[in-house]
Symmetry: C2
Subunit: 382 residues, 2 copies
Amino acid sequence: MTASPPLATGAVTGVSGPTISDVARLAEVSIKTVSRVLNHEPGVHVDTRAAVERAIAELRYRPKQSARSLAGARSFLIGLLYYDPSAQFVAGVQQGATMRCREAGYHLVVESLHDDAPDLREQVDRMVSTLRPDGMILTPPLCDNPEVLAALRDSRTPCVLVSPGRHTKDAGRDMPSVRMDDVHAAEETTNLLLSLGHERIAFVKGPSSQSASALRHQGFVRAMKAHRVGIVEDYVIAGRFDFESGVEAAHRLLSLARPPTAVFASNDDMALGVLAAAQALGLAVPGELSIAGFDDSPASGLVWPALTTVRQPKAEMARVAVEMLIAARAGDFDGPAQARGTDFHRVLPHELVVRDSTAAPATQAIAEQARARARERTRPKR
Amino acid sequence: MTASPPLATGAVTGVSGPTISDVARLAEVSIKTVSRVLNHEPGVHVDTRAAVERAIAELRYRPKQSARSLAGARSFLIGLLYYDPSAQFVAGVQQGATMRCREAGYHLVVESLHDDAPDLREQVDRMVSTLRPDGMILTPPLCDNPEVLAALRDSRTPCVLVSPGRHTKDAGRDMPSVRMDDVHAAEETTNLLLSLGHERIAFVKGPSSQSASALRHQGFVRAMKAHRVGIVEDYVIAGRFDFESGVEAAHRLLSLARPPTAVFASNDDMALGVLAAAQALGLAVPGELSIAGFDDSPASGLVWPALTTVRQPKAEMARVAVEMLIAARAGDFDGPAQARGTDFHRVLPHELVVRDSTAAPATQAIAEQARARARERTRPKR
DNA sequence: CTGAAAGCGCTTACAG
DNA sequence: CTGAAAGCGCTTACAG
């Protein structure tokens, strides 16, 4: 009811901002033409386009996501589903995804779901049906969860799986994916140890529930066989991808009559456990024991000595995932299905990060002596 | 044009799902009444409400965010702005925020912004005007960035600052905040070292650009003064909150004629650096040197010995932030301003995590000897 | 190359 | 306690 204060031309309600009509009025065209410019549709005269763009800039106009979403087929929202929030892996993926989304005018909605929540399907359903995201990015272990995949399939939401695992019957074989080559990376890491002169190389496996475990072990075996170096049964230990199981593995390995000169732990948390245990036992790393990890977690570069490890292309995988999602949007009802050509399943390059925890094995005498010392200190776990 | 196949009652287009009209029809009420039930408005007959809820359940109906957002004042979207994606701090905040959002029927949109991007304001503007989030959560250092704060203030978007720093003129003194008591936490940590018998306690400061630095240092000073223990000037080193500056600090401290028996590094990354350096110099931790950190980063529990540190209530702060945002929504135009009472600035309890890197100082003789040994090995940095 | 009309699925006043 | 109408700000067919 109060008279509005003098405002710049075209200014509207101070709070809700200019609309497409304001732009149309200023540019002296219809809202349909503004819409065409907004969506980069072809068939707009270059002068008209310029006029509209000028009006948009002058009014600082931004189309409202909710209006576009309600009227059209796109929501400009991409969902990221993950389980362990503290996981470095997710942080890297999220970083890549937000960057690529911003570039494309999309926004990233994140949801942390417990892998075995009773209402998991319900939670996924709710997100999809209320938000209508244009696509979903799934990280392990959710990208291997049949319940989650089924919910998403039913909703016809385009998905991209990042580092998915075993493709069982219910899994996302029919869904596009982005991954790195775990087998090859593990092979390279093993080759590094072999090339340093190690022959007594131990391997600490991950849990069988995670697909990366088998792949990394496979790479280890392949490299050893290629170099005709025997794999000692006692040198292959089952771990759980956590620090504690790395500690346990180290105790078992270092109390052997003939302990290994190098340990390849198939993720950094376990490698950190091996390192901690070795140091606690008085072994010098890498002088008396070489250790390699996998993941390039932040901690791997913060310990002493810094861990040799494998860097996963986390952000890159996410960027590619977002691109696949945006490309697959609209038009094709069965989304990804038709893209099933060359790049339905993408594999991105990784990087072997050689740092300070790996070196040539000490000469026989010194090494034996050191390990004997360690063995003495090893007490049976209670 | 083709005859639709037989479908269950009320079923609509397979892909877009049921609408509020479908629910209204099934419950034999108007859509307005369904809307009332959806929004938990009072003044709906209990029987009517029950009927509507039954219809909602039967149809598995979910209101569409975009339609609610376009028609109403809420978007059911909360934004989280952060800078460093790998930071453990952000991961904890995000975890708490997604959980609380889910409980409240909201969704979390994340945006990673570079603190000194040239188009920072533009980026914030774009997010706010296209998404119209009901609120924004800001983490350091963005919550202290005048440009970001100005953009948000202009857009009239309710904000909550998590762990904001110095309240300068342009800062968010007028915005609600959630934090922990850094001063008190640092005081407690110092008290722990003092109670173990340490008197020669060094302190590694953070960069002056970060507000936590001064607060933690203040807590250290307060504890030392309270116990009438002198603060040796050479024991207070300027760090940068990173691993490398921890290493440097350790080298400086351990090459002193009279080195400290304990080091309180004011964040974990620096404490990890001190630990690595000490171990590289052959010092036993905590036997010959006690080390305490701050943050409870994942790495702090993965090293050997595990670091004594302070756990910040990250997820809790985020939960509270989301609650403040939801509570402040609608009605009050100046949002948070009116809540300025008891809980405009909330302080949440932290936890001192005592682990294995702190112990009583070794007896004078042994300790001196150990440090002398270390001193010999210390080489001047080039 | 451009536009007028209808409609997406809700909430907001307003009326009863 | 309940509902009919209008409208949020866009895109979708469709027409010219």
